[in-house]
Symmetry: D2
Subunit: 258 residues, 4 copies
């Protein structure tokens, strides 16, 4: 599917963004990114830190992808803003995924602080991708603040529970003009396809790929599922009905010639 779409200052073909956490090692991560066909990859700024004993992660992220550093570790707008600036100063570019997460059990975002950080960082020229609790009005505020996209969660990060908050995400898709990227909770390729069928612009997947038995193959499955779901959406999904509708002529076959 060669349909292109635009988000931030980029024109993309892929609608699958991938995260880099939780992989068993960097080589698996690298191969999974490649088999996912992703053009955007998120990475926690902290993991880019040169002081860490960890091998330098950026060496293992394919060079053609757009980096989207995230502010994980930030507990309020101010911390998110500082991390974003550090990312840019480190040469990671002007895309930033805002994660403001004061809660350590469910890892849920603080929409209000996220809106504050978004406003500030848009002013500073960033392309801002806020991770958020699904909420039409918060989505409007982020849109008005100039976010490049909004990233509502389907279920808690890493839970693999699917798009449990579908009711509100569907409303956001129907009502907002900014691109919607469903993030967190997507556990199976069918969840990703479903998000696309709902009309989402893209999905971000991390845990479901990184913790699969075969992450490289799973990354490809997610790629295919996103393409399938998007193509189904474009092809026009038919209505559902309570009763049956015959696919084949059902009555009187043996009897009609009598």
């Amino acid at each position: 599917m060669n349909e292109q779409w635009t988000v931030g200052d980029k024109t993309l073909t892929s609608r699958l963004f991938v995260g880099t956490g939780k992989f068993s090692d960097h080589q698996v991560m690298k191969k999974a990114i490649l088999s996912s066909n992703a053009e955007v990859v998120t990475v926690a700024l902290r993991r880019v830190n040169l002081n860490e004993e960890d091998p330098y992660i950026l060496n293992d992220i394919p060079g053609h992808v757009q980096l989207m550093p995230n502010t994980s570790g930030a507990r309020n707008a101010e911390e998110a803003i500082r991390i974003a600036r550090l990312a840019k100063a480190s040469g990671l570019g002007n895309w930033i995924k805002i994660e403001v997460i004061p809660d350590q059990k469910y890892l849920l975002p603080d929409n209000y602080e996220t809106i504050k950080a978004t406003k500030a960082l848009v002013q500073e020229g960033f392309e801002v991708f806020p991770y958020m609790n699904p909420d039409l009005l918060a989505g409007k505020a982020l849109q008005d603040a100039g976010a490049a996209a909004v990233m509502p969660l389907g279920a808690p990060i890493g839970s693999n529970r699917g798009i449990r908050l579908k009711e509100m995400i569907q409303i956001m898709i129907d009502e907002l003009e900014v691109p919607i990227i469903v993030d967190a909770g997507i556990g199976r390729p069918s969840d990703a396809a479903e998000a696309m069928e709902m009309g989402a612009d893209a999905v971000l997947v991390n845990t479901a790929i990184a913790t699969a038995k075969n992450p490289v193959q799973m990354a490809q499955a997610f790629h295919e599922a996103v393409v399938a779901g998007r193509r189904g959406y474009v092809a026009g999904i038919g209505p559902t009905s309570q009763m049956a509708n015959a696919s084949s002529p059902l009555t009187g076959f043996l009897h009609s010639s009598n």
Copy 2:
């Protein structure tokens, strides 16, 4: 994905079977079959009838596919058996999909008559594919009777409602050895992916393709979704959890260096 599987007397690559009812015209049907990559196509025997004013449908089914004529119109085992024999006598081969449907509102199959017809037709050398109400014990009976596969319905034919009877279909997948082909109710590509992730061997789709705004594109979307779901199943889907699991290191980023 080049993984092969065997059903009846055939080895297949595709896990998407398609139906030929409800298409606006034969050219659309033909193109949709091609874009679906299907290797098995079902057609109601009646529609093959030379006496009909309808152009001869078989001319528009690509020659490389395995035909699976179905007994739609049969209301009991005896009628299904007669239609199956007519199909074979008409040169349509030895695959037969049993549909015994006395109910005209929900088009639900009669499992008992279906088992009877399956027993008889297996004896006559057919590869028998029974459409059935999901039921572990009826599935065992069909397996014992020598069915080539069993085809439980996800929801009423043509309803596009998805795999609503998942609870029982999952049990059948887990407990039976005969291939399981989920038939009826599959309305969106994500439904097809989900069936594959559950461990089904294949799906049959008709209404969702034929009544899409763009049937040819939708057929391709279903193809991709089936491949994605199967690949996800093989790659090993991770467990779900009630709480969150951090994808990225979440605490103390800005604070750890103090």
Copy 3:
């Protein structure tokens, strides 16, 4: 709610049937039956057996309830018929719940053998209550055989998973004339209320009561939930809508007087 209904040869007020398995002791069972307000109680014939070391269970079932012995342990129609006759010969009356369960993992019924047993026992004058896999055509066959009611399962026995096979049970409720009693899987009071709202005539609950922390209180909760669900059904549940409908006048309050 004093609405009465008729099933078999009885007129009842309660729509909650209870099972007697799994209780920690007979006194808890007895109190739970009383607090459930049930008028029909099922008991496995085997547990009535005088040879068991267990105290005689019938002493602890309140005398005013209708006993419905069940054929648990039967693996085919013949065994179910023998158990039914033993029950009647033991003075347990002419109500019999048919359970034909060859599968020991999911405890799923064999509809075909169940239909056979039902036909035979109706002929012998029993009021027959068949436990069954949800299936419209099997339900029609049981209705035609003279069953007093049909008892489709919502989910496997003892799983507490709720009415997972709702799609088919709703069709049975809509299409059959024989009373529908949802049996197995009902795990919470809200599940029981939901069955009644769907239009079911009654529910049978066992595990969810017997294995609650406080079975006596849980039995009362189920009683209340069944009454609530039935009353809601009779009161006429309103339609659902995709969008909002204001409960209160929403616009222009402060502005209208300008």
Copy 4:
């Protein structure tokens, strides 16, 4: 069930709050309030307005109930605060339900403005009940601001769609200390029972009662469902399992004596 609970400055027995919109006439509303056993009733301040041609609604709200005027019509915090003050000045007491709803299609609340209004009105001595989009962090902010309870929506107002945002409401119930009152979307008695089984402290129902065929009877059904769900919660709902658990001894009945 005589268990009492405390919310704001009141000790209540009932856990069902009812709304007064959409009733066909005041007499039906009055009877429905009585049959609901509600002790708290919400009313839009505008409908209390003496200038309206409508008969004075307060005459038809039973005198023993706690009034909870709401700020419907407010589009931001400032308007909500003004309406709250008007309500108090009109002698309607110090309970106020905050509704800040800028969106007229889905009637979704603005959490941020709601938090602002809550802070201000708590300072002024109100017992504040904010209607909100389900969100753990916004719930914490409202709790910290001194809200008497928080009222997350299950689905859009008046949609009767049930508790579609269950995932987030369950997290709020598990993590917050302030009482949780599920508001909006509850369409059937079983939905209300389910909210209570999840551990919610109360529910608010309006449309589902007011638009039932028989609102007075439906109000009673909701009362019973709330009692049932709460009792089930207190009685300790058992775990669910994937497989079956026999309620009755299942094997070897006829065979064990051989």
